[in-house]
Amino acid sequence: MLLFTVRRVLWTVLVMFVITLLVFVIFFKTPGVDPARSLAGRNPSPQVLAEIRQQFGLDRPFPVQYLVMMKKLFITRDLVSYSNQGQRVFPEITAAAPATLSLVFGAAVIWVALAIAMGVAAAVLRGTILDPLLMIIALIGISMPVFWLGEVANLITQSKMHGTPLFSWVPPLGYTPLTQNPGLWFEGLLIPWLTLSVLYVGLYARVLRASLIEIGNEDYVRTARAKGLTEQRVLIRHTLRTSMITFVSLFGLDFGVLVGGGALLTEVVFGIHGVGYLTYQSLSNLDLPVIMATVVYGAFFIVLANTLVDVAYSWLDPRVRIS
């Protein structure tokens, strides 16, 4: 167990190092890409370019540039935006983080609850018409682009049916901090939560159903039935409990991905000014430091989540440790 954890942590450190290196190379060293040029504006004179290179340290050797960038990202945390001269990137990201976290946490609660309900219902109702029906609904959920679903939700709740009592409570697009007005925070996030959770409800319901059915054939479940336990008890104490191992590890990974930048599209469609929205804004004016910072921090968060999941998984299921 300890050896596994140590090995896993060392691998994580290596992965993080390679990710920072890769991102740095992609953003600053791709052949033909010149950050100085994107800083300088249209048709810069060679003198201006040289000045900018010198000012931003772009003329120094590669390892120095990389180390300076890493120092700015992680130690001094004073990386500065290109397009907004003087604007520090790190405070911008920490200011945007609560919106992203609110969005992902709420969606996670909804998708876990709905997916368990749907997956269990489909597995229990196997053989009836409801099982394939639920699975078709799940499949449709998986097949929808989230940003389009968000637009459809906006169209319905903000425009077409906003006049009806059903959706008249929906506030205009945007994010209200929880500390400022909890009621408005909730109302403003409910539609984004539902939109973001649709994909995961479909995905998890399908995985859970398959896993419940597979585990239902195991010997220990038959034993549980044979000793006279009720179906309900067999389901909750035996099959569902085992299925949760896969479910929890899957959840950890997806949650990490969403917090680390995967909620970008939902944030853009609903105008929630989270970290993903920040990335999106920087995309439009090619503000490389901001994009790079959000990508690196996001990737770090995801890698960290993966490691936690792996360690938790090996703790829950000893079979994993050996491989």
Binding site: I140, S143, P145, L155, V303
Partner: protein, 356 residues
């Protein structure tokens, strides 16, 4: 060994009773024929295949529709043009259409095949024609990147599984690294940087014009390689120590022959199962990147860019965004159902971890 050989090998005691048995029809077929039969009997999978082929065919007919039915150029602005609705000449950009939009609103759906069936976008371009052209781009990118991705992943997996040892360790670690990198963030990073190059780029012998569809195709193909690599490598490892491979080694077969005629045919089913799912995933990824304006570049259209174009018109002309979204849902849904069918047909017990 045929059934006759088996009976003959049964020993002297049984040779009198054993008659050469010819197995009945279906059982004597190749595994591929059996799988094909299973797939053909899967009605929902066949219906999805038909739907998918239909959408591919309609999208391929985009130029035909634009030139001969709608008579429009879907890539040129048409702010001063007119069209015919119910026998009257109507301007495409209408004054004061919406209270919120000062100025002009493009014409809405006419539901008339010849005249702006789905209306026009902000630049007066025919949405229906763009939808078909956009479908062509989206499908080309989806299928193209799935082909490239599966080809690369299979080759790498064959090399890793066959040579094993250090080669396997190195390649697998490399794949783990790409896997650990969040898909969207990797795509965003690469796309952003490559988009800053106005003059296109040179990758070996391949020259990419700026705005070429190859750019998103290659990026999407690259980021999903580990998702295909993992299951294929697993299959290569399980095949590489089978008796028929040993037999081929004993016959003195070269490595190339071992890999391509002994191992490859026995791992290709894994790739085939993943293929429709990869197309679906790639189309969704492409639409997301295009929506963020870092995928397909204007003047080219894809379903993602049309949704993005329609965002400003969402409340006045919702069909601009709705139509391409429905197309994506139809295509991805049909591919997912087809993928499930192919998986059930080839290996009823296989479980596929869906990428993304």
């Amino acid at each position: 060994m045929t059934a006759t050989d088996m009976a003959a090998a049964g020993g002297p005691g049984q040779s009198g009773t054993a008659r050469p048995r010819v197995l009945p029809g279906p059982a004597a077929r190749s595994p591929w024929a059996i799988a094909g039969r299973r797939l053909r009997h899967n009605r929902s999978a066949m219906a999805s295949l038909v739907l998918f082929m239909l959408i591919v065919a309609i999208s391929l007919a985009a130029p035909l529709y634009a030139h001969d039915i709608a008579h429009v150029n879907p890539f040129a602005n048409n702010l001063n043009g007119t069209t015919v609705v119910g026998g009257h000449q109507v301007p495409i950009m209408q004054q004061g259409g919406g209270t919120l939009h000062l100025g002009e609103t493009p014409i809405g759906p006419t539901w008339d095949m010849g005249h702006y069936f789905l209306g026009a976008d902000n630049l007066g371009r025919d949405v229906a024609a763009r939808l078909l052209y956009g479908g062509r781009s989206s499908l080309e990118i989806g299928i193209g990147s799935a082909l490239i991705c599966c080809a690369i992943a299979t080759l790498v997996a064959l090399a890793a599984g066959f040579f094993g040892g250090a080669v396997d360790a190195l390649l697998s670690r490399l794949m783990d690294l790409i896997w650990a990198f969040p898909v969207y963030l990797l795509a965003i990073s690469i796309s952003t940087v490559l988009l800053t190059r106005a003059n296109g780029m040179q990758i070996g012998p391949l020259h990419l014009v700026a705005g070429s569809l190859w750019l998103p195709t290659l990026i999407i193909a690259l980021i999903y390689v580990p998702y295909v690599y993992r299951p294929v490598r697993g299959q290569v490892l399980s095949v590489v120590s089978r008796e028929y491979v040993e037999a081929a080694i004993a016959q003195g077969a070269s490595n190339v022959r071992l890999i391509f005629s002994e191992i490859l045919p026995n791992v290709v089913s894994v790739v085939i199962v993943l293929f429709p799912l990869m197309i679906a995933t790639n189309i969704l990824t492409e639409s997301a990147l295009s929506f963020l304006s870092i995928g397909v570049q204007p003047p080219n259209a894809s379903w993602g860019t049309i949704i993005s174009d329609g965002q400003q018109l969402l409340y006045t002309r919702p069909w601009v965004s709705l139509a391409p979204g429905f197309m994506i849902v139809l295509v991805v849904l049909s591919l997912n159902v087809l993928g499930d069918g192919v998986r059930d047909a080839l290996d009823p017990r296989a479980k596929v971890r869906r990428a993304g």
